[in-house]
């Protein structure tokens, strides 16, 4: 195993299920034999604030947070929050983002518009970019609520963790009832 640490960032809005997604990734990394650390701030997150989860894995991980500008991959659950977290990414890092807009209070109240052209702005800086309609693909898998798993599937392609470990992590973290749909959602994401 190389000394290389893989730095994954997940950004979105409180209530989107980022904690569970980052837990599945951490579990898969541990099952694959890596040391893992994960960090995020959850306090006000329940009240619709921004959430950024940091997951790092490799032979031995020290800092629980991704050093500024060293993220390998940014996994965005929402467009504006993805954009906000770009400075955490290393030059040439990859972005996988869900095509979803959640309006912040100032936009809801009509004080300013939701910024446009975000996709283009991200792409211009990080050409290794994938836009996904997580909700739509999840519907094909059988449940819109599996959108995060679709995204996780897409991210998984870019990470050095074998598929069997992802499957075992899903089995452990997802309630049995929802497992089939989530497996399918993961596969569709992986193939996207």
């Amino acid at each position: 195993m190389s000394e290389q640490i893989t730095n994954v960032l997940m950004a979105g809005v409180g209530g989107q299920g980022i904690l569970l997604a980052s837990e599945i990734l951490s579990e898969a990394a541990m099952l694959a034999g890596f040391d893992v650390k994960k960090s995020e701030i959850h306090g006000m997150s329940q009240r619709g604030g921004c959430v950024v989860s940091h997951v790092r894995y490799g032979r031995q991980v020290f800092s629980p947070i991704v050093p500024e500008g060293e993220g390998d991959i940014l996994f965005g659950f929402e467009l504006m929050e993805t954009c906000r977290s770009l400075p955490l990414l290393k030059p040439g890092g990859a972005v996988v983002v869900n095509d979803l807009r959640i309006l912040p209070p100032s936009v809801l109240m009509g004080q300013e518009p939701y910024p446009d052209g975000l996709v283009e702005r991200i792409k211009a800086r990080f050409p290794d970019f994938q836009l996904l309609d997580g909700q739509h693909v999840a519907e094909q898998a059988g449940n819109v609520r599996a959108a995060n798993t679709v995204l996780l599937g897409a991210v998984s392609k870019r990470l050095n963790i074998a598929e069997q470990f992802w499957m075992r992590a899903l089995e452990k973290m997802v309630p049995p009832k929802a497992l089939d749909v989530n497996r399918k959602a993961f596969q569709l994401g992986r193939e996207s």
Partner: protein, 586 residues
């Protein structure tokens, strides 16, 4: 067996493995999940206390009874529990007693970033500081052992990154064979009257000295010699940042930050050319190291405020930074009360009445944010009522009427009740609003003495807040439905006008309570497009379910829209619409 655990889960696990019998706490970010995890172990009696002082006193009792006891709180909780803590240092323990305190550098969810290590020195209590989840578990076990071995309570200091960070932990079995708790009288040790306390204090000083010597040999204090041109003394999460950023530097990793292992520090300093101290917040280790005559560099380069990060450490040491893409200018995303939150109407009315609102801490502190913008002070839990009394002591009669304290149910029972006693006793004309949403919502919905359930989810007697206020001597008590804006505003105006103490209690639950029969979702509301004139009146309530949709042609007249997935049917926006455009979908 290996598992990925958060620091908080690992501390709970460590308490379980250590044979802990009692865990008591008042919730507070980032410490809350420790007790939410000790409940997984049926061997531990876990409970929420009304405040941190009581929580610590319960743990002290359990220890005096002979059982191992855990008490947890956030950093500011120690301010509340400081009174018993300082004298507990003198009595010492019977069963091991571990006090976990979780700091919040950077103030992710706190009103200050006080550095709890100062308490350990001030109160003369040993303190351990883990740097990942594995250490959280191991150090918790060790803390119980040291507590009994040295007859002292032991503090375990965490922080947001440690408590909420997750890493791999090796699980072990629960220890067995601890002596069974039973009553045993020992007044010379446990009754801290001056005569006894004078005997105990020198023993405390002696134990600290012994522990400092022993600390130099403890495995948790570890000298790692690498490149000897710089030697970094560090502890806790800062150690991880040091290893990340300066992998070749020699480090002295301290697992025990009070008392410091002086012999080991001296030995380490002699083996390296230049000594640095890397620690978050105060120069706690640094000042002591310098007092030893070691010329260490610390806060000259390491920030005094906020968290450390690998990037901040890099710039402190003048190391090259990766230049990230510049931050985008984007609309902010501040937290907001939930759709249908029962607090909203009260702040809307207070804003309209131009009240001077002494605030408190809870979800309702968000009433400070626009568009509600109705909070003028916020200092610490329970402070709203005392501050209201104080303000009315100095301002002119006409202004006294404007003074309203707002406080949540949990905060009222925490320390607000004392303020209310004073307000009645000393006859302040201020108005108090107790926002009773039947839960401690801010920290993730914990039960409290008025919610009718315990931490273990067993039914419990619920304090009747109106009756409690009556018994304190409040003559004017009104219970209102905060979702009825007209009633809320009218009652507030009447009570503000009254030149006597009055208490208004709201009676609608937090919308996130999942327990059956507490919160009932109403019918979803919708805005009729043809009737909506685009007057924006409904936006003034700041409900996140309501969205302003500008006119498609870019013209002036937009319309409001309700997201049916978010609306909880609280009816408040309907009351604001003069054109009857808002209604429930039957």
């Amino acid at each position: 067996m290996k598992e990925i655990l958060s620091g908080n889960e690992a501390i709970a696990r460590g308490a379980f493995e250590a044979g802990c019998l009692v865990a008591c706490a008042y919730p507070g970010t980032p410490s809350t999940e420790i007790l939410e995890n000790t409940i997984k172990y049926k061997e531990i009696d876990s409970s929420w206390a009304p405040n941190e002082k009581v929580a610590l006193e319960v743990a002290i009792g359990a220890s005096f009874g002979g059982g191992r006891a855990l008490c947890t709180m956030k950093h500011v909780g120690v301010n509340v529990a400081a009174d018993p803590l300082f004298t507990l240092a003198y009595t010492g323990v019977r069963g091991g007693l571990v006090l976990v305190v979780a700091d919040d550098p950077e103030m992710h969810s706190s009103q200050n970033e006080q550095d709890s290590r100062n308490y350990s020195k001030f109160a003369k209590v040993p303190m351990l500081e883990p740097s990942d989840s594995q250490e959280c578990k191991e150090f918790t076990r060790l803390a119980f052992e040291l507590s009994e071995q040295y007859d002292m309570p032991v503090m375990l200091k965490s922080c947001t990154r440690i408590s909420h960070g997750k890493s791999i932990v090796e699980l072990e079995e629960r220890v067995s064979g601890l002596p069974a708790p039973k009553l045993e009288k020992n007044p010379a040790k446990l009754v801290m009257l001056p005569g006894n306390a004078r005997v105990r204090h020198p023993l405390v000083e002696e134990s600290l000295q012994k522990l400092s010597h022993a600390g130099s040999k403890m495995a948790i204090n570890r000298s790692e010699l690498r490149d000897r041109s710089i030697g970094i003394i560090t502890a806790g999460v800062s150690y991880q940042y040091v290893r990340e950023v300066l992998p070749n530097a020699s480090t002295l990793k301290l697992g025990m930050v009070n008392p410091l292992p002086y012999d080991l520090i001296r030995e380490f300093a002699a083996q390296v050319e230049k000594v640095y101290v890397v620690e978050e917040l105060d120069p706690f280790i640094e000042l002591q190291v310098r007092a030893m005559g070691i010329n260490a560099v610390g806060k000259e380069i390491i920030p005094l405020c906020g968290e450390l990060t690998p990037g901040r450490l890099r710039s402190a040491f003048g190391l090259p930074q990766t230049t990230p893409v510049p931050a985008e200018k984007l609309p902010g995303r501040p937290p907001n009360m939930c759709p249908g939150c029962p607090h909203r109407g009260v702040f809307f009315a207070l804003n309209q009445l131009k009240a001077y609102v002494t605030g408190d801490i809870g979800c309702y502190t968000l009433g400070f944010m626009p568009p509600l913008s109705a909070m003028d002070t916020c200092v610490c839990m329970g402070a709203s009522i005392g501050m209201a009394t104080g303000v009315t002591k100095v301002v002119a009669d006409q202004e006294k009427k404007k003074v309203v304290a707002v406080i949540g149910d949990s905060t009222f029972l925490h320390t607000g009740i004392n303020g209310l006693m004073d307000m009645v006793y000393n006859q302040s004309p201020a108005t108090v609003v107790i926002l009773d949403n039947s839960i401690t919502a801010m920290t993730g919905r914990q039960d409290n003495p008025a919610s009718g359930f315990t931490l273990m989810d067993a039914p419990a007697p619920a304090i009747n807040i109106p009756l409690l206020c009556t018994s304190l001597g409040v003559k004017n008590i009104r219970v209102i439905n905060p979702l009825d804006l007209e009633e809320t505003k009218r009652v507030l105006a009447e009570e503000m006008e009254r030149p006597e103490t009055s208490v208004i209690i709201t009676n609608k639950p937090c919308v996130l309570i999942k327990r059956e029969g507490v919160f009932q979702k109403g019918p979803v509301y919708a805005i009729e497009d043809d009737t909506c004139t685009g007057c924006r009146a409904c936006l003034k309530i700041g409900c996140p379910a309501i969205e302003w949709r500008p006119a498609a042609d870019g013209g002036k007249k937009g319309k409001a829209y309700i997201d049916p997935l978010l609306c909880t049917g609280c009816d408040v926006c309907r009351q604001l619409c003069k054109f009857d455009a808002i209604g429930s979908k039957k």
